[in-house]
């Protein structure tokens, strides 16, 4: 009971659990999403407390920021899909065959039991048990970067990271596929104040994103966090109509999506063709290669996340702008 932060931890944990529960409990979907965003930010805070600043940054930027934007956009679509504000859909829509309450309670009871079991298992697991600490510390000098998390992401477990970028690529392909031919729900005009804000904040966001990327080699930050912040540039551009996707931009967008994955995989293969195994960067070029990959991956992540927010692939819709402005 010596830790002065104990009370803070307990309060924070309580708040996180309460927010999680209320995210699912409140009737209004908008409130639910907002609660979720707060939940995400507090979780990020908790992770800072657990000395995981990289994870906290990623969670705040991607898990909460981008996800929140996606959720809000979807909610907007749900409410405006008929062309006008439909307040009655505020609580979402009920399925055709509602699940009987008995089943719900049974499920809840089951989940409760599972949780109990998991909690017991967790409490029985070794505290701060064995890990990769020593291995990573030993291998770090050969990795080409100084920040252990970046070393893990882009060298020791680069294969996972490549596949993670592949997941992102799969997502954007799937989203384009799903929403092909879909007309967007008209977005509300955000007005001049927003445009001004956009102009002012854009350069700052770019700087912050690039900074995070660059900083990633020796301190918390890196491709994913940087990419997410840069994706915010895309979001601001899209929302402020400073940039409107056109069908002619499709090819460029495709290239941008695959840039990171392609470069990452190409470097891995190139290394492999030089008599090494894939991802085994020569130590003298490791830093250069990792920075190159990170840079390209960041661009892809930023564009992909922005595209995921935008949803459908840019198609020619007659009088799109006219409709939007009404």
């Amino acid at each position: 009971m010596t830790d002065p932060f104990l009370l803070f931890d307990l309060l924070l944990a309580g708040a996180i659990i309460a927010l999680a529960a209320s995210t699912l409990a409140v009737r209004d979907l908008f409130a639910s999403i907002v609660l979720f965003i707060i939940f995400g930010l507090l979780s990020a805070l908790a992770w800072v407390r657990l000395s995981a600043p990289d994870v906290a940054l990623a969670e705040a930027a991607i898990g909460t920021g981008v996800t929140g934007a996606l959720l809000l956009k979807t909610l907007h679509h749900l409410r405006f899909v008929t062309g006008r504000l439909a307040l009655d859909t505020a609580t979402g829509f009920t399925p055709e065959h509602p699940v009987p309450p008995a089943v719900l309670w049974a499920n809840a009871a089951l989940c409760g039991l599972i949780t109990l079991g998991l909690a017991v298992a967790f409490l029985g697991a070794p505290q701060a048990g064995p890990g990769f600490d020593v291995l990573v510390a030993d291998a770090l000098p050969q990795s080409g970067v100084d920040h252990p998390v970046t070393a893990v992401l882009l060298n020791f477990r680069a294969y996972d990271t490549l596949m993670e970028v592949v997941v992102l690529l799969a997502a954007v392909i799937a989203v384009w596929q799903i929403e092909r031919g879909l007309t967007a729900a008209p977005a509300p005009s955000l007005g001049e104040v927003w445009q001004g804000f956009a102009r002012l904040s854009l350069p700052a966001i770019v700087i912050v994103g690039t900074y995070l990327l660059w900083k990633g080699a020796e301190a918390p930050g890196g491709a994913f966090q940087g990419g997410a912040v840069l994706a915010a540039v895309g979001l601001v551009l899209l929302l402020s109509r400073l940039y409107v996707p056109r069908p002619s931009h499709r090819a460029a967008a495709r290239w941008a999506f695959v840039l990171g994955t392609g470069a990452f995989a190409a470097v891995a293969l190139l290394v492999a063709s030089g008599g090494r195994v894939a991802f085994q960067y020569p130590i003298e070029h490791a830093k250069t290669l990792i920075l190159l990959i990170e840079g390209l991956v960041t661009i892809s992540i930023a564009v992909t996340l922005a595209a995921l927010f935008h949803g459908r692939e840019p198609v020619a819709i007659p009088n799109e702008r006219d409709r939007d402005d009404t």
């Binding site: 504000l85 007005g191 927003w194 804000f197 002012l200």
Partner: protein, 98 residues
């Protein structure tokens, strides 16, 4: 020492304004009033806390960063409040139309 004390007072009063803003958010009757309470109190509260922290900061670079944070938060919150208010007004209008 005095610097520390000053900083503590500034931060404490900043926190007070935050609490006040939150009370306003919870107690005020409609959206516009809540927005008013929130933005006013938070803006001031943040400014005070930022000042308090700058007193404690070790270098000019850190102070610069604190100022930047304050600037962008203020900018974002102003824009957000504007957007929320504009949205609310539009919804109200459509509701009366129906």
């Amino acid at each position: 020492m005095i610097l520390d004390l000053l900083a503590a007072i500034l931060i404490a009063s900043g926190a007070f304004f935050f609490v006040a803003g939150t009370v306003g958010l919870l107690r005020f009757p409609d959206l516009y009033c809540r927005l008013h309470a929130l933005t006013k109190a938070d803006g001031l509260g943040l400014a005070l806390i930022a000042m308090g922290l700058s007193l404690l900061a070790g270098s000019a670079a850190e102070i610069l960063r604190i100022i930047l944070i304050w600037f962008f938060v203020a900018l974002a919150s102003a824009t957000c409040s504007h957007l929320i208010a504009a949205h609310a007004r539009r919804v109200d209008r459509e509701r009366t139309d129906d």
